[in-house]
Symmetry: C2
Amino acid sequence: MVDAEIVAIGSELLLGGAADTNSLFLADELLKLGIEVRYKTVVGDLPKDIEAVLLHAFERARIVITTGGLGPTEDDLTRKVVARVTGRRLVLHNDALAAITHRLAARGRPVTAEQTTQALIPHRANILQNPVGIAPGFFLMRDDRGVMCLPGVPSEMRRMFSEGGGGCLEPLAGEALHGSMLRRRLRTFGLTESEVDSRLRDLYRAEPNVVLGLQAGEEGVDISITVRARHVDSAQSTMKRVERAVRDRMGHALYAVGSQTMEGVLALQLKARRLTVTVAESCTGGLVSQRLTSIPGSSSYFKRGYVVYSNKSKVEMLKISGTLLNEKGAVSREVVTAMAEAVRARGNTDLGVAVTGIAGPSGGTKEKPVGLVFWAVADKKQTLWLSQIFGGDREGIRRRASQAVLDMLRRYLSGKPVVE
Amino acid sequence: MVDAEIVAIGSELLLGGAADTNSLFLADELLKLGIEVRYKTVVGDLPKDIEAVLLHAFERARIVITTGGLGPTEDDLTRKVVARVTGRRLVLHNDALAAITHRLAARGRPVTAEQTTQALIPHRANILQNPVGIAPGFFLMRDDRGVMCLPGVPSEMRRMFSEGGGGCLEPLAGEALHGSMLRRRLRTFGLTESEVDSRLRDLYRAEPNVVLGLQAGEEGVDISITVRARHVDSAQSTMKRVERAVRDRMGHALYAVGSQTMEGVLALQLKARRLTVTVAESCTGGLVSQRLTSIPGSSSYFKRGYVVYSNKSKVEMLKISGTLLNEKGAVSREVVTAMAEAVRARGNTDLGVAVTGIAGPSGGTKEKPVGLVFWAVADKKQTLWLSQIFGGDREGIRRRASQAVLDMLRRYLSGKPVVE
């Protein structure tokens, strides 16, 4: 395995402001190339700090990838410092400047003097195009070490790495592949971390070259399987065996693999079966619709959504009976099933989905505490519903509720029991 | 200033899976106590790696805060390793166990053997309650160094720090407060990073003890002001002066301070003026409604939302004219203003807000490229609209569009010009 260090540059990452999601994407992508991220470092915008971190990174990692600091402003220092530590001079790169001019023109903006500084690139570096932003990235070698500089904006960084950056690293990855490591993430929903743990317990020590890890979050419990072996073939066969054992123990709770999301899985199911869905949501306030439409091509299965936040909107938009709302309350089995049936009919779709609950922090009672959520899926013949009390704060409860709704739809579409 | 190091524990943070947002919150909170985060480290679930990182942290930081690794499973190692490096034994803490039992019972679940391990705490450590989760945290001193162990789940970590953790650190912060550092974040929307940069250019070198930093993202450009001074008083007066200068240069583009969000600012405005709003969204698919309802108490200003994703839904739900849709296209000034006016009327609210655009990756044409978005705000008398071509990928375009819609509403409510 070749070692890599990811260096995130920017005081805002050190001192509050923006989360570093870039290193997650990069770690996954690098592993596919046989490169293991061993270190992650965050450094502020001081030139001498960046320089010290980069020099230290060259000592312990074969590949150093920086994110951030490629913008047009005074505290965007990556180009300068990388040029210095690699002993190159900065030169104005004409193609890079042309690309910057072109992209700004497409947005109807002129090129400012500051923006031209983004075309200053260390001499003989390999330019990486930025298809969705302005600043180009670059890759160069310093002795036998590779340095890649990517933008900090996640969408730009991802596209740049996928459409050029990754390819630059392949020669480095291949030549030093002593031994192999594979990693796979299996995603579950509906079981607690303790339940997943106890189902996997006998596997933890079964194979010495396999590590199982659990990560519980608002989207469920993810299981990571890491396999190390001398050769790729034996790593692959071990992975296959362990994955099968984990899948057996997880059953229908397993909903996705790798970086796939619940909404991504649902998109595939809905498209394959040519089914359409309408959503009615109260406590989640639009989150379920937003997640379903986050997938490209979602217009084939999602046509409309109703955010029925107030009781009055439930009556007016979905014709839920005011008497029912008064007698059972908006957060009830009766209302959620009526909502799912109503939106299916109003949207004229195959399925109706609904969710109602108490996201808090106020509004809870002893009978109906904060975190109590009901959700339902209706088709032409039947309406299924579930209910649970979720933990967490307001945003956490909303995220867990949205995941539960989507999971119910997934189980329904798979022909699997909705509850086990 | 007292130095702190934040150590995020968990292989999933190193190797793809979950982003570390905890350190951002902690950095902000610590600064309020006069504690500066100088280092951030991410380490996997191997005991010897965690031990090495903690020992190194004790060398260079007065306060070490860990997040993660407090769960009930085999790879939750924080309790064990911290006990070892601080030379304490682990003891079963009865109050902690009672709290765990109580919280599980509230969710209708029994306590498993694994979960009782979460009540094993280093001897004489100060327990930190977990009001929204199961595992308790703790704080203890090792010689003159403080160690605090918090859960990895962000909502749990935040509540635990705010309701107990922060207080434990105050004595450490106070006793060694040599010099003072203040930081403030001013958030802008509507200007590019280059534009913000050029407006601030003369301030960068004006004061030697002040550092200005810019961070561009999907929510706009954030400006951080960092002031260092010998005494708190002089730091505060410098901050006041610099903040005023920055505010003057940003004008109406400045929408929030610190960790406040656009939706948080809007909530205050709408509540103060007792106004209500209805939302119609196409390309954002529920995101605008979701953001407006993410604020506790949002039911006072938000009653309902329409996710009109298909043309048919625009006709059926909002009575937008089919002829207009055919002639002008769904992504047009005419349709977005009609949508805003229609939802205002249907929702019977003071204001109607609408957004329509091409989020991509497909669906763009030469005249209407991917990223083109129209949005509008309607009141009883007038309908204002704006349009822009946003960069980024599908999710980036949707997020930028939602921010633009909310910003237009903010400017409208402030009586400020919607466009400058």
